[in-house]
Amino acid sequence: MLISDLAVIMNLITIALLGFFVGALLLTIAWTVFGKLIGSYSIQSQKTLILTWVLGPWVLGLMTMLFFSPLFEGTAIYNWVESVVHWHHLYVFQFSSWHGVSVVLFVLFSIALIAIKGTQLYRQGNAINTLKHFSMADDQSQGRRNVQIIDSDIPTAFTAGLFRPVCYVAKGMADNLSDKELDIVMEHELAHARNRDPLTKLLIAFLSAYYPKRLAQLLNTKYALLTEHIADQATVICHSAEDVAATLVKVVRLNTALPKNASNTSLSFFGGNDISQRVQQLLTPTRKSLPVIVPIAFMTVMLCFTIVAVDATHHLVESVFTHS
């Protein structure tokens, strides 16, 4: 049993964790109610909402911890919070209690997650290096930095790399497109590189991995589609939306025309409707924006619920179990 400053730290971590899980549960319920409405807002508003959901449990956990922490002891707000909710053993912590177990489980899950994502990154890095080794063609990047041409007949283009993202365009793509269409593809990929989309996708994948799996996948899919919309919008600055949409459809046709045994180009990770959605978004963009106050107010309400729920859960569990 710990009775020291370390006990305070361990209790605060426990509170943050409990707040995190309660927050994740509340946001999961909120998603089932409000999730379908998100698509009707502008791309920027949608991005704000998805980030609110992904970062929500983390923010709620940390804020809950701050409210329970002795940092503000003696202040009016602390006294008010303590009159409503409190952690009755802030200076005592027992590792063999349910608090200790939850901290250990969280740490183990996080280590496993880091190991899995790290392995994936390492393998992807190796695959890209090997790809470069065997297939870098003479430069046809139209003088663009950050664009590399792959000497392959596969009609593909993608951006990879976390800190220095590079756009890869295969000859199979370049040879089958007009100069204007190729420019659209390159501008789109360069927008991904400028926005550091591979890195943000990794962070979103990591932060959302603590949600129920189905919601995590949904958030990742939505976020990935948003990065595509944003890259499409960047391309529309220099080209007409119709040209970008037509290029998109043409590229899909090039891919679907591939023989079945060449299906290893299957970069089909957005699900069935994303091309339709991207074309629709290009032709008739959703412009309804969401006032910033809405996510802030929403998170404030969630925070109140979380704090009360943490207190209630703590007392409920401890009326059933003891710490020893």
């Binding site: 695959a127 065997f134 392959s152 951006t159 994948a205 996948q217 119709e242």
Partner: protein, 131 residues
């Protein structure tokens, strides 16, 4: 698919010179790097186990040749760059220009093209109306 530096060089050499034994591979690669015969033998063995090489015994030695064509390997690598992160609905950490939806059939693509054409026509009408 994971390939070490030596494995890449071995594979590259075998594409240009199929049906050679370990000594020949070692002699060729020693112009580029300092590797022992055993190291080259291990690389050949690993590539064989990965299914990237085939071999046939001739006398006391194996003759190796690439089992996979360069273009097929590149296709596999592109797939592997994407699919490492794609499994079971997860998203890729690469950002591709288009996702190939197996569910997108010709009819759907035709409909999208019609939509685009209608929009073009409407814009033209709008422009000529403004003139």
């Amino acid at each position: 698919m994971f390939l070490g530096e030596l494995e890449k060089q071995v594979l590259q050499y075998l594409w240009s010179s199929p049906g050679v034994d370990v000594k020949r591979v070692h002699a060729e690669l020693s112009k580029q790097r300092d590797s022992s015969l055993n190291t080259v033998q291990s690389a050949l063995e690993r590539l064989f186990k990965k299914g990237l090489l085939s071999r046939e015994k001739q006398g006391h030695a194996y003759l190796y040749r690439a089992e996979i064509a360069r273009d097929d390997l590149i296709a596999k690598l592109i797939d592997s760059v994407a699919s490492d992160f794609v499994s079971k609905g997860e998203n890729s950490l690469i950002a591709a220009f288009s996702s190939v939806s197996t569910e997108m059939d010709e009819e759907q693509l035709d409909q999208l093209e019609q939509l685009i054409e209608i929009q073009r026509q409407q814009l033209k009408k709008g422009d000529s109306g403004a003139d």
